[in-house]
């Protein structure tokens, strides 16, 4: 942890280049089943982005927030309305503005964090979750007065070229996720992240050392909801391909909370690991159910077991490794490459 503050080491650049080659060249060229793109890679990247948002507020700033899905909904519907109502607005522009709208809402709902913490704050953020979904649901303008309740998302068009095939959409998301992840890593390593962590570790001490609680907390809320908003817009436009408030209910918020905690609080790569795990584990269970037990186990039991496993893992990680899977990964790496580092 202490080796790389602010500056990047050689291995950081190598890792980055390898991941980029893998993401932009190898995966699009080798993976040729749409299933992998639409059901795994696309939701994984979207949810990982939302989890980074959750990391900013929870892992780095230590504020127990439980409303990620609400901000995702805000971002998704903002993006839908921007593309619908503003002529000639490019997709990335709409995406950025929807993130900003989500950030503005995040600041408002982050205000209670100045006075409260822990479970009190959790309740305050639950208010945002229920309130945002209710507003979108009850005011027809947000849904363009569509009575069916399910609105089809517009096609993604960039410079006149529609990006609608799974591979195209994957690449669009990958660009956004890459840019924002690098941004998040920079913020976390820079003075912004130092302030967040100071507030997390002991807010009274941080304040007495001159860190403005007001600025730091609200900034964290804004950035966190910006990430969630953009993630929500991408999630709706590429994975769901429709916009319905129900898709962003409290269950999704819990899911993102789990991704964040199991992945490893206060880590960016943990967001990707956690999102991948929570997303892939049910797929694996279903696969086992279908192919090993040949459907002998009821699907509802499988999904119930999946909940049990997530819950047990949560408890086990809290007891044995509160820093989550990212730390497990670090430990394994250290054990494997111990000699190399010396």
């Amino acid at each position: 942890m202490s080796t790389s503050i602010k500056t990047y080491s050689k291995s950081d650049y190598i890792n980055f280049s390898v991941l980029m080659v893998l993401g932009f060249l190898v995966i699009p060229m080798t993976v040729n089943s749409d299933y992998w793109f639409t059901s795994i890679l696309i939701p994984w990247l979207c949810l990982a982005l939302a989890t980074i948002g959750q990391q900013v507020i929870m892992g780095y700033t230590g504020q127990l927030a439980l409303g990620a899905a609400g901000f995702m909904a805000a971002g998704a519907f903002a993006c839908f309305n921007l593309i619908l109502r503003v002529d000639g607005l490019p997709f990335f522009g709409a995406l950025a503005i929807s993130g900003l709208i989500a950030a503005a809402i995040g600041i408002v709902f982050g205000l209670p964090s100045l006075r409260i913490r822990g479970i009190y704050l959790m309740v305050a953020t639950l208010a945002s979750q229920f309130f945002i979904i209710w507003v979108i649901d009850k005011f027809g303008w947000f849904k363009n007065y569509d009575s069916s309740g399910i609105i089809t998302a517009q096609d993604i068009v960039i410079f006149g070229r529609p990006y609608t095939s799974p591979v195209d959409m994957y690449l669009v998301i990958l660009v956004v996720v890459t840019v924002m992840t690098v941004l998040a890593i920079n913020m976390a390593r820079g003075s912004t992240g130092r302030n967040w962590m100071a507030v997390r570790d002991m807010d009274v001490a941080a304040e007495s050392m001159g860190v403005s609680l007001l600025k730091t907390k609200l900034q964290a809320f804004a950035i966190s909801s910006f990430f969630c908003g953009v993630a929500g817009a991408l999630f709706a436009f590429t994975y769901l391909k429709s916009l319905e408030p129900v898709a962003f209910d409290i269950k999704l918020s819990f899911k993102i909370l789990f991704m964040c905690i199991l992945g490893g609080l206060g880590t960016i790569n943990g967001a990707f690991i956690g999102a991948g795990f929570i997303l892939l584990f049910p797929v694996l269970l279903n696969y086992l159910g279908n192919n090993v037990f040949h459907g002998a186990i009821d699907a509802t039991i499988i999904s119930a077991m999946e909940q049990v496993v997530f819950g047990v893992l949560m408890i086990v990680f809290m007891i044995y490794e509160p820093l989550g899977m990212a730390r497990l990964w670090e430990n394994t790496k250290q054990r494997l490459f111990k000699k190399k580092d010396k």
Binding site: I119, Y120, V123, A124, W134, A304, F310, G311, M318, I319
Partner: protein
């Protein structure tokens, strides 16, 4: 009395009585918080788990009272394993860590209940009709459901007995000592394990009672977990460590959400109930972060 005023009273009374159902969930929460300073996020899941098992045992053919007793036994086992497997290994961890572990516990209980008993909605008939009592309606013109009235009575009974337990008995004294400082309490010979076991089992029983009343009203289904989440604003208004606070908080939440829903809801297409309690709680938090009856929180560096 004009019929409008009468209607207003009816709404308020209905809300107050429905609020006691939130209070019952909140009560289990307070119980654990008072004795171990743990925010037990799994209380809602315990309610669901308890009542689903209760209905499940009855479906297996057990008579009402036997099923009730077996479920109580089951909840004691749940409490015992929770204490042993979750709370004890995390004894000296921060509040937030414990809170996250109980979120995990909630997931485990929800999953286990559904794996064991299935996911379909079940009816629970307590023999108490959810209809207005006619002689009250005839006498003063207000419609009050018999189930609501029972819930109110049950809540009152539980609050009184828990208050007596906490303030008048030696066990209660031990409980309060443990909540204050577990280390000091155990060093003067208060059996920490027994206290924790007792509290978690008691919370399980409270969860079962709350679950029965909720189940009789809304059906035994997964949505109970979301309903139980509303115990959180109740706790915030009442204060986490106060048993009367849980009741008063429930009454405030219950009546306010009903009045808002009936008088303001129609202008916005309804369903204000979904968020009103949380927003109300936020305003309370800004004014009185420790709740109406809670102890003032002092934080030191």
């Amino acid at each position: 009395m004009g019929s409008e005023i009468l209607f207003f009273f009816e709404v308020v009374v209905g809300g107050l009585l429905a609020g006691t159902m939130y209070s019952l969930v909140a009560l289990g929460f307070v119980l654990i918080y008072k004795a171990s300073a743990t925010f037990n996020f799994a209380q809602g899941a315990m309610v669901f788990f308890a009542v689903l098992s209760f209905v499940g045992f009855m479906e297996l053919g057990l008579p009402f009272f036997l099923a009730f007793i077996v479920t109580i036994g089951l909840m004691v086992i749940v409490g015992l394993s929770t204490e042993r497997l979750v709370i004890r290994p995390l004894m000296n961890q921060s509040e937030d860590t414990l809170l996250m572990a109980t979120i995990g516990l909630g997931y485990v209980l929800e999953g286990l209940a559904q794996a064991a008993w299935g996911v379909e909605v079940r009816r629970l008939d307590l023999g108490i009709p959810d209809f207005p009592i006619m002689f009250i309606a005839d006498a003063i013109g207000i419609f009050i459901s018999a189930l609501d009235l029972t819930a109110g009575a049950v809540a009152a009974f539980m609050v009184i007995s828990l208050a007596v337990l906490f303030t008048q008995t030696k066990i209660g004294l031990g409980l309060r000592a443990v909540a204050d400082d577990p280390g000091a309490a155990s060093s003067i010979g208060i059996p920490l394990k027994h206290i924790m076991l007792l509290v978690w089992s008691a919370a399980g029983v409270v969860a079962l009672v709350a679950g029965c009343l909720w189940g009789a009203r809304a059906g035994v289904q997964f949505a109970l977990v979301d309903l139980a989440l509303k115990a959180l604003p109740v706790l915030i208004i009442g204060g986490f460590s106060s048993i009367p606070g849980a009741i008063v908080g429930g009454l405030i939440i219950g009546s306010t959400e009903k009045v808002l829903e009936v008088y303001i809801g129609p202008f916005f297409g309804g369903a204000i109930e979904g968020w009103a309690p949380y927003v109300l709680a936020v305003f309370f938090l800004l004014k009185r972060p420790e709740g109406l009856f809670g102890e003032k929180i002092i934080r030191r560096v």
